[in-house]
Symmetry: C2
Subunit: 200 residues, 2 copies
């Protein structure tokens, strides 16, 4: 049981963060819809009343957990600061793949929009994707020279959609493709797509 | 009013097809969830009872309409038989873009999984996507030499996810990107991605 010790003296913010961490861990094996305040209360060993105090209602609770999961994703996939552009992108993709593997059920429910299909969920999801793709336009962090034009934005967004689809497909059925092949393909795909975009 | 004339002598199959055509047309401006048997009855000028006779229940009705819409998509985007590989793929992408524009609300609700999020809907959607990408492996119809390996399948699937994302993004906000630029980019993306995949 991944319980949260109730005796530890924590600030309300620390306690809230601890509960969100637990909520995200619970998403590794269940969809967002299957995550209930009752379940979190049981796993954390605290009262439902206290959880409602922290999170308000079920929709707000789901939103907070998913936002926390998105922040984790963005943090964990931050490219390393050393290495050439290919190495850094490769490391970031490997971290992304590991994240999807560790958070499969919850991630799948989000991507497939079955997480209640709420507007708020959609927004968090879109924001997280935008944060991930914005990195590509940040020379210091990534190193590919991607012209920041509306067409290049479409390409990079599209590449992210491709990566999401390929990673999920592979995690669900890796037959015939090694982890290294998948990561190499996704890493090579970005510069190869960007090369088709005119500089101006 | 896009009514279905009730006096025409049609076979039950023809009538059913006519009603499905109307259902698909109604999806151009509403999500799958917003499509009701009541609405179809009103637009078709026939009784709800008759519609229940044709389609059983709401879920089966939605499934039949979405399957019909997917068949339309596959038929309308069939690549022409003449022209080189680039021209044929370009024409197919142009037809896909036109389809999304004409069926925006319903298509969006399907892609975003907010169409009730049912397993049946997901399956129809996955089947349609598979039918679209399978074409790429069919030399006679497309002409790019794509090795039929598990990795190439992931790449082509990923390209389709990219196309879907880019087309929807562009239709929702075309600022700064012309229709021709979008179509050229999507057409160039496939061979450029496939080139990164080893032959074996």
């Amino acid at each position: 049981m991944a319980g949260v010790t109730t005796r530890t003296r924590l600030s309300p913010d620390q306690r809230r963060t601890q509960l969100l961490d637990l909520g995200v861990r619970l998403l590794s094996t269940r969809s967002v819809d299957e995550l209930s305040i009752d379940l979190l209360a049981e796993e954390a060993g605290i009262s439902r009343g206290l959880l409602y105090h922290y999170f308000g209602n079920k929709a707000a609770f789901h939103e907070a957990v998913v936002r926390h999961a998105a922040d984790d994703l963005i943090a964990q996939t931050a490219p390393p600061t050393s290495g050439d552009a290919f190495e850094r992108l490769h490391a970031s993709m490997a971290a992304y793949l590991a994240y999807v593997e560790q958070n499969l059920a919850g991630y799948l429910s989000l991507v497939r929009g079955s997480a209640g299909g709420s507007e708020a969920m959609r927004e968090i999801y879109d924001e997280a994707r935008a944060a991930l793709t914005d990195r590509v336009f940040d020379d210091e962090h990534d190193g590919f020279r991607v012209p920041d034009t509306p067409l290049a934005r479409l390409v990079v967004r599209g590449w992210a959609a491709m990566a999401e689809d390929a990673v999920l497909s592979w995690v669900l059925d890796p037959t015939g493709v090694s982890r290294e092949q998948l990561l190499d393909m996704l890493t090579a795909a970005l510069p190869s797509l960007v090369a088709t975009v005119p500089e101006q």
